[in-house]
C-alpha cells in the first residue's frame, strides 16, 4: 500500500527532525530574550564568538529566541531549553525560580550591577515640535492629552512605565492615595492598550494615535533615529525609574546539557568594554560608568530611582500592583465605573 509507506516515511521524518533538535553540541547555547534586544544580540553574538575562540575554544553557536518578556519566561518554565535568559525585568526571571526551581533564589546577585549589564530608563516620546507642550509626567494627566502605553498585565516593559509614573507621583505628591489618583487619570487618557511594547510603538508611530508615548529610552531613540526621522522628539521627565533588564544562566538546563562554561562566559562578556560600547550603540545605557561617561551626551542625566528603593523589589511591586485584584485592576475598574 502506497499510503502506508508514505506514512512510514513521514513518521521517520518527524522522528529524525525531532532528534536533530535533541543532539545539540555543548558549545551551542540558546539565548531566550525579549523583543527589543534582537539587533543588539545579533551583533553581540559575533563579538562573543571571536572572544570565545580567542581563548582557544571551538566556535560557539548561539541560537536566539525573541518575544514578549513574560511569554518568553513562561516558555522557559514550560520547557524551552534556554541556557541563558536576557529579559526585560527581574520579575520574569524570578518566575524561573518560583515555578520549577530552574535557578537559585539569589540569581540576581551572581553578576555585577544586579545582573544588568546594560540599563535604560523611561522617557516620553512626543510628536515633532511637541505640539501639546509636554514637559513632564504631570502633562500626561491633562484631559486634552492622549497617552500610548502597552498593557502592564501583558507587557513587562509597560510595568516599568507604570512604576515610573507611580514613583514620580509618589515623590511629587507624597502619598499612595495621590499616586493612585494620578495613575487613574493617566490611564483614563489611554485610547489603545496594546499587549506588547512593540505593538504600542507601532500604534503611536505608524498609526499616528496619541500625543505622547511612554517608552524605554532605547526604544524611543530607535524610533527617532530609524522609524520616523524628524517626526518625533524625546522629552526627558524630571524623575524616572532605572530600568534594569537582567540576565542569568538557567542552571537546570546548562547542567543537564553541559553548557555551563560557555553560558557563563557569554554573560560575563556582556560586561566587557567592547560589549558595553555595543550596548550604547543600540541605545542602552552601559552599566560600566567609564564607558557610560563617553556617551554622556547621548543619554541625558535623569534623576533616577530604583524599584528596590520605591517599591521594595519586583515581587512586592508585582503583588501590589499587577496581580489579579491588585492596584492596576482597581484602576481599570474605577475608570470603567466613572466612564
Amino acid at each position: 500500500m502506497k499510503i502506508s509507506t508514505l506514512v512510514k516515511h513521514l513518521t521517520l521524518g518527524t522522528i529524525l527532525a525531532a532528534s536533530s533538535f535533541i543532539a545539540v553540541a555543548n558549545t551551542t547555547i540558546l539565548n531566550v530574550s525579549y523583543d527589543p534586544t534582537r539587533e543588539f544580540y545579533r551583533e553581540y553574538n559575533q563579538l562573543f564568538s571571536k572572544h570565545w575562540q580567542a581563548q582557544g575554544n571551538t566556535a560557539p553557536t548561539v541560537r536566539q529566541s525573541h518575544g514578549g518578556s513574560g511569554s518568553q519566561a513562561r516558555s522557559v518554565i514550560d520547557g524551552l531549553d534556554a541556557d541563558v535568559v536576557t529579559l526585560a525585568l527581574a520579575y520574569d526571571i524570578d518566575a524561573l525560580h518560583n515555578n520549577g526551581n530552574l535557578i537559585p533564589a539569589d540569581w540576581q546577585s551572581r553578576l555585577d550591577k544586579n545582573s544588568s549589564p546594560y540599563t535604560s530608563t523611561i522617557v516620553l516620546l512626543v510628536r515633532k515640535g511637541n505640539p501639546k507642550n509636554i514637559k513632564n509626567w504631570d502633562d500626561l494627566v491633562r484631559p486634552d492629552v492622549q497617552v500610548i502605553t502597552p498593557n502592564p498585565k501583558t507587557s513587562g516593559g509597560a510595568r516599568w512605565n507604570y512604576l515610573a509614573a507611580w514613583g514620580y507621583a509618589l515623590k511629587e505628591y507624597g502619598s499612595e492615595e495621590k499616586a493612585y489618583e494620578f495613575i487613574e487619570k493617566l490611564f483614563k487618557n489611554v485610547p489603545v492598550l496594546d499587549s506588547g511594547a512593540r505593538g504600542a510603538t507601532n500604534t503611536f508611530v505608524q498609526r499616528g494615535i496619541g500625543d505622547v508615548f511612554i517608552a524605554w529610552e532605547n526604544e524611543a531613540i530607535l524610533s527617532v533615529e530609524q522609524l520616523g526621522k524628524g517626526q518625533f522628539d524625546i522629552v526627558v521627565p524630571s524623575v524616572s525609574i532605572l530600568a534594569e533588564p537582567p540576565v542569568t544562566v538557567v542552571d537546570k538546563n546548562v547542567d543537564r546539557k553541559g553548557t555551563r562554561k560557555v553560558a557563563e562566559a557569554y554573560l560575563q562578556h556582556l560586561y566587557s568594554d567592547d560589549a558595553q560600547h555595543l550596548a550604547a550603540k543600540h541605545y542602552y545605557r552601559p552599566s560600566n560608568p567609564a564607558v557610560a561617561s563617553q556617551y554622556a551626551s547621548a543619554f541625558p542625566k535623569v534623576n533616577l530611582f530604583t524599584i528596590d528603593e520605591v517599591f521594595g523589589g519586583w515581587t512586592k511591586a508585582q503583588q501590589t500592583h499587577f496581580n489579579d485584584g491588585g492596584v492596576f485592576d482597581k484602576v481599570l475598574e474605577s475608570i470603567n465605573k466613572n466612564r
Binding site: A18, I22, S75, G196
Partner: protein, 288 residues
C-alpha cells in the same frame, strides 16, 4: 460539478428562473463592493507593502536565511499535516454519508469544534500535556524527547487546527451523492476498495482537492497556537507566520509584508491550480 449555465429549452421559463437585468447588476455590484472592502483591499495592502520598495528588496527579504528556514519548516509541516487530515476527512465522510448510526449528529458537531476553539487555548492545552510541569512533561524530559518548543509540537497544534477542513468539504458532498452508485458497483461484484477508487473517488475529487487546498492554506497560516508552543527559536522553530511577526516587531515592515505576500501567493497558487484542473476536467466532459 453541475454546469449551471446549461441551456434551458422553454423560453418563458428562462425568464422565470432568473432576475431582471437591473437586479442582477445591482446584486453583482453589491457583492463586488463587499468583497473589495473585506478582501481586495487587505490583499492590496499586503502586496503594496511587499513591493513598494522594489523587487530586489522583496527578493532579499524572502531569501534571507531565517526566512528560508521558516519557509522550509512550514513546508515540512504541510507534508505531514495535509495527508493525515485528508485521510481522516475521507474516512469520516464515508462513515457519516454511507451509514446510519446513533450519535452521528454529535460526531458531526465534534468535527467542527477545532474551528471554535481559540488557537490560544489549543496552545495552552498542549502545554498542559507536554510542558515541563505538564502531565507528560517530566517523563518526556527524562527520555529526552522534545514535543513542544520543537517541530513535533508545531505539527500537533496545526493538525488540531486544520482537522475539520477536508472532512467539512466531503461530508455534505458525499451525503448528497448518496450511496446508490456504490451499491450498484458492489452489487455488480466490485470489491470495496475498487468501488472506492473507481466510483467514489472520481465523484468526490473536487471536494477532496478543495478541502486539501483549504487545509493547506490554513496550515500555512496558523499563528496563535503555534506561537504558544514554538519557542520562537530563530531559524529553527519559527514558521512563516511567526517569522512575519518577528519582522514586524523588528520594524522591518517591507520584509514582513514580503514574506506575507509569499505566503498569500503560495495559497493563491494552490487555489489557481484547483481552478485550472477543474476547468480542464469540465472541458474533457464536454468533448466526451
Amino acid at each position: 460539478m453541475t454546469d449551471v449555465s446549461v441551456a434551458i429549452p422553454a423560453k418563458p421559463l428562462v425568464k422565470a428562473t432568473t432576475e431582471p437585468r437591473w437586479v442582477r447588476y445591482s446584486l453583482i455590484s453589491i457583492m463586488l463592493l463587499f468583497l473589495s472592502l473585506f478582501l481586495l483591499l487587505p490583499l492590496s495592502v499586503v502586496l503594496y507593502g511587499a513591493f513598494e520598495a522594489g523587487l530586489r528588496v522583496w527578493w532579499q527579504a524572502v531569501t534571507e536565511p531565517d526566512a528560508v528556514a521558516a519557509i522550509k519548516l512550514t513546508l515540512f509541516v504541510l507534508v505531514i499535516v495535509v495527508p493525515l487530515n485528508a485521510i481522516f476527512g475521507v474516512a469520516i465522510a464515508w462513515a457519516v454519508a454511507k451509514f446510519e448510526f446513533r450519535g452521528k449528529t454529535l460526531l458531526v458537531s465534534i468535527i467542527d469544534m477545532p474551528f471554535a476553539i481559540s488557537p490560544v487555548v489549543v496552545g495552552l492545552i498542549f502545554v498542559i500535556f507536554f510542558g515541563s510541569h505538564g502531565w507528560l512533561g517530566p517523563w518526556l524530559q527524562q527520555h529526552d524527547i522534545k514535543i513542544i518548543f520543537a517541530v513535533p509540537g508545531i505539527v500537533i497544534v496545526i493538525l488540531f487546527g486544520t482537522l475539520p477542513f477536508v472532512a467539512r468539504e466531503l461530508i455534505p458532498l458525499m451525503q448528497q451523492q448518496g450511496k446508490d452508485e456504490e451499491e450498484a458497483s458492489l452489487t455488480l461484484g466490485a470489491s470495496g476498495w475498487k468501488t472506492f477508487w473507481y466510483v467514489t473517488l472520481p465523484n468526490i475529487k473536487w471536494g477532496l482537492i478543495y478541502g486539501v487546498v483549504l487545509c493547506n492554506a490554513r496550515a500555512m497560516g496558523e499563528f496563535g497556537a503555534v506561537a504558544v508552543v514554538s519557542g520562537r527559536i530563530r531559524g529553527e522553530t519559527n514558521t512563516m507566520p511567526l517569522h512575519i511577526e518577528v519582522l514586524y516587531n523588528e520594524y522591518m515592515f517591507t520584509a514582513a509584508f514580503a514574506v506575507s505576500s509569499l505566503l498569500t501567493g503560495l495559497a493563491l497558487v494552490t487555489i489557481v491550480i484547483k481552478s485550472y484542473v477543474e476547468y480542464k476536467d469540465e472541458r474533457k466532459h464536454k468533448t466526451a
